[in-house]
Symmetry: C2
Subunit: 317 residues, 2 copies
């Protein structure tokens, strides 16, 4: 029986190659490059997909599981009709580590004032600036799902002072965890850098708005490694322009690729990166997909299973 | 009995304040701001100094120890006459961690191609570049004293592939250690980034020359967090200009502050930082000095004791 593969046009060849090597006995059909899709619908057992066309997944009568090619679930959550099979997210520890190191890089960029030293070099100006110790530099991670937990732990392990906020109570070693609406203001007020790791769903759309940003200390920083639409862009630009937020590093946007005309590109207080903080590569992730297919074949539970949206931000990342 | 304090004109007030708070019973004289130095020579028991004028330390008849205000010993090693008292280096774990994070920042800057993304932003150009996993990105640390060990361990702990070289055999968890002249070529040949942590002494002056740089792979990177004179500057510029070395990040120079006319300032393949990778601050380090004075008072051994130069690069950092 066969696999339907659709990484939404991106990098399908690497995935085909990596999955074929791990499961040589299976036929893999790349969607939509299939001559007669109706002829093969019945043989598809596993859909390995990302941003698959809405309404299509219900049309494979022998489907046994949907394996997403990423950790985010906002696309699958918009399906109105899904077959009654497990939906499995792809959470690659390598990708989580890459995202955590991305956050660490930008936290250090702010804490150690590297951009100031870059400017000084242009003027051949030798001057050392006193800084606080990492344990006195406060970073708050918003959303303590798998991404947020990895980001917080990595930053704490490297010496920074870590807090975290999640809708539901969490416990992470060396991280001061806040939870729920009542503790939101404390999580925002007591920070030098806020790292957004919230998943995108109905409850988090435009969650970071002018009211929350205003709670942050004057001159603090924002890093976004999750989804663009969690931030209200207009409100962020307003808080950058009035000097309340010193700088924002954005790796995710409401519309990607970020349109040429978007003001973020040329805003002096914004760093734009092209959703590269934790890119999923077939090189490491195909093994996780193959292992989950094997688990299902053995009657075991694949991991991590996707829960219906809106239940808990801690269960998504 | 009293303390002689001389941080070579830099930040003496912070040190005076911090040491006075920790040892309120002691008189502390700031050198050279002393009205009649001859009158107080006999009362000095401890010299807390950095780059102290040559030939002066022998002139305190009741001196019990020399406590250096840094980890480097190249200045004290040039003294021809020293009293027969312990020389204690200042090795602050906070400073070691700062230096390791400096190295990590620049390794990530190269590995993740952040400068390329900075350039892309100028052109509003959205493009993600595939990179290897951190465990396939090879970093070699030269000199496995206290700085080198901390740098290597920190980079390994964050997922990078670490090698190290030292004159004498060393063992560090998760670091492939080379040693001695015969393994030098292997240490240089098998790396994407070389991080120099060698102490400066007769054996390491201009140690990194065109011959060693030529052993590194085409397009590799150099980071220097120890002393400028370990590198032959002319040879480095030659290897940058011919494209063999892609970029060098230099935090230490043969002459500091780096003179305005020095070509490093405006070389497109050189990043200059003003010896800030691991600045010693009175805030954290005064406690280490006070503790060592207390150890001596108690008849215990201060730490870390300085060994005569040239014995082992592993004993200095």
């Amino acid at each position: 029986m066969s696999i339907l593969l659709n990484n939404n046009g991106y990098d399908n060849r690497s995935w085909l190659e990596a999955l074929s090597r791990l499961m040589p006995e299976r036929r893999i059909h790349i969607f939509p490059e299939i001559d007669d899709i109706e002829a093969i619908r019945k043989e598809i057992e596993f859909a390995v997909v990302w941003d698959h066309p809405r309404g299509d997944l219900i049309r494979y009568p022998n489907l046994r599981a949907i394996l997403l090619l990423g950790a985010g679930t906002e696309a699958i959550d918009q399906e109105t009709q899904l077959p009654d099979v497990p939906v499995v997210r792809l959470v690659d520890p390598e990708v989580l580590n890459d995202m955590a190191l991305y956050a660490l890089y930008w936290v250090m960029n702010f804490h150690r004032q590297y951009d100031r030293y870059r400017e000084q070099q242009r003027d051949a100006h030798w001057q050392r600036h006193e800084i606080c110790a990492p344990q006195d530099y406060r970073v708050t991670v918003l959303g303590l799902g798998m991404v947020g937990r990895t980001v917080a732990s990595t930053l704490a392990r490297n010496g920074y002072q870590l807090s975290g906020w999640d809708r539901f109570p969490q416990e992470i070693e060396d991280v001061h965890c806040f939870s729920g609406d009542t503790q939101l203001a404390s999580a925002f007020a007591d920070t030098d850098v806020l790292v957004n790791c919230l998943p995108l769903n109905a409850a988090t759309q435009h969650f970071i708005d002018r009211h929350l940003l205003a709670l942050m200390p004057q001159g603090s920083y924002l890093i976004n490694v999750s989804r663009g639409a969690v931030i209200n862009d207009q409100h962020l630009i307003e808080q950058l322009d009035n000097g309340h937020i010193a700088h924002a590093v954005l790796d995710a946007f409401a519309s990607e690729p970020l349109p040429q005309a978007n003001p973020f590109w040329h805003h002096s207080k914004v760093t734009v990166t092209p959703h590269m903080s934790g890119a999923t590569y077939a090189r490491s992730a195909a093994r996780l997909v193959a292992d989950n297919i094997q688990r299902i074949e053995n009657g075991a539970q694949p991991f991590p299973l996707h829960q219906p949206a809106g239940i808990s931000s801690a269960q998504a990342c």
